[in-house]
């Protein structure tokens, strides 16, 4: 049976994990390679590394970080942040990423989705969408808008329309972050996730808002999410992805166990 995926996300700046992990018994709590490896060993189904470095020098650091992280990582590995061109994506793939996540660059130039997919396959292209409910609309969920600049700027585009366009242009998966829920720890936006997931045929990864194990169970059931991403699984009162998955299994959600 196909299982629901738990994806561990590492936010990196200048080659260091800058947030998301709070346990202290790790030798180097800030090293992305060490953390990615540990998450994989502790049962994460995939690893996402999101680079929030803005500088040119930082990009070279990122490739080095990807290379080191990928070296002995044998679960799917996605890299996002700052990928603006097909050449940027190619460099990240050559450093060892299996997938790239593109966000504002795809909005600015939707043809980029197909360009990357052409060389590396659709499965390698994740389109990340930062979404906010459209409170001014009679149907705030179905009319949710795509935001850019960390959720500050309204692109004016419909989330569902953009997800469908991304799919038709060859995206392999959608990474949907609810900017309304992000950081609130009050649960994923299950209604929005379900609306997007039922609008496309490709997998939807839910992100933003997880605070408890129950929130994951909800987003897999009511939210129809194919995967859920968490910046730090350890915030949710469990010790590891494995422990999270054990609880999800008890709640009747199919997960990869043992792992």
């Amino acid at each position: 049976m196909l299982t629901r995926r738990i994806i561990a996300c590492l936010d990196c700046r200048d080659g260091r994990v800058v947030k998301g992990v709070q346990f202290v018994d790790l030798i180097d709590a800030g090293d992305p390679a060490a953390l990615a490896h540990r998450h994989a060993q502790e049962g994460a189904d995939e690893i996402v590394l999101l680079d929030i470095t803005a500088t040119h020098e930082g990009r070279a650091t990122l490739l080095d970080t990807v290379r080191r992280t990928a070296q002995s990582l044998f679960v799917p590995f996605t890299v996002g942040g700052g990928i603006r061109t097909a050449a940027d994506a190619e460099a990240v793939f050559e450093a060892g990423a299996d997938k790239v996540s593109i966000n504002s660059a795809a909005l600015a130039d939707p043809a980029l989705i197909g360009q990357i997919g052409q060389s590396f396959g659709a499965q390698a292209v994740i389109v990340a969408i930062d979404a906010r409910r459209n409170q001014g609309s009679p149907d705030p969920v179905r009319n949710a808008h795509v935001y850019t600049h960390g959720g500050r700027r309204d692109s004016g585009r419909s989330v569902i329309e953009w997800a469908r366009e991304a799919e038709s242009r060859g995206a392999g998966e959608i990474l949907l972050t609810s900017m309304d829920s992000d950081g609130m720890r009050s649960g994923f936006d299950c209604e929005l996730t379900a609306a997007v997931s039922s609008a496309v045929r490709i997998p939807v990864i839910a992100s933003g808002g997880a605070g408890t194990v129950g929130h994951f169970a909800e987003v897999f059931a009511a939210g129809q999410a194919d995967a859920a991403l968490a910046a730090s699984i350890f915030h949710f009162g469990v010790s590891s992805a494995r422990a999270l998955k054990r609880e999800l299994a008890q709640a009747g959600i199919p997960v990869r166990l043992p792992c």
Partner: protein, 199 residues
């Protein structure tokens, strides 16, 4: 252990090469037929569209692979590299496969479930499989594909998504998997190690 990995520009080889090296193999990557003459083992990876296998025909790799298989060289196909061993795929009806397995690959039926099939799914393993030695029934591996091979003689692992399909196939010195062993954790590494140790 020497392994020759075929590069036919169908996606990214880095992960496969990295996993084989991690297991101690000396990996040579080639996009030409000549190195296959001396190859100890051959891996044909591949993600993406079946039409990409046309390059195997255009570069003379197809007859070189056929000859290597006939000589008994252990051969492992992964994902599209598995499907190419069949007669062909409805994904690219005009592009023939090798026909080592005389069946056709086909798309998952559209219905309630999403297509493509992406994620970790469990295997039912035929215990006589050499490639899947020591892999327990129910082990999870990572898939990402919209087309699949049918169950047939030679199928050594079955996965179920919408319908049962061939997750692994083997006959003689030819082995193939629909999933990505290089992305399937310890289980996947065990499968690659088994391939590297096949005599």
């Amino acid at each position: 252990m020497r392994v020759t990995v075929i590069d036919y520009k169908a996606g990214n080889l880095t992960s496969v090469v990295k996993a084989l090296r991690y297991l101690g193999a000396k990996v040579e990557v080639t996009d030409r037929p000549e190195p296959l003459l001396q190859a100890e083992r051959i891996v044909l990876p591949g993600v993406g569209h079946f039409a990409a296998t046309k390059r195997l025909d255009d570069t003379g790799l197809t007859p070189a692979i056929r000859d290597a298989i006939d000589r008994g060289t252990p051969f492992l196909g992964i994902c599209v590299g598995m499907q190419w061993l069949y007669k062909g795929s409805t994904e690219a009806p005009n592009q023939p496969g090798l026909s080592y397995f005389p069946w056709q690959c086909d798309r998952f039926h559209d219905g309630y479930e999403k297509v493509p099939h992406v994620g970790w799914n469990s295997l039912s393993v035929n215990p006589s499989s050499r490639l899947l030695a020591d892999i327990e029934k129910g082990s999870y591996v990572y898939f990402t594909h919209a087309y699949k091979a049918p169950l047939s003689s030679g199928t050594v692992a079955v996965a179920n998504y919408i319908e049962p399909f061939a997750a692994a196939v083997e006959r003689g010195n030819v082995f193939a998997v629909q999933f990505h062993p290089e992305k399937s954790g310890v289980i996947g590494l065990t499968i690659l190690k088994n391939f590297l140790e096949i005599q």
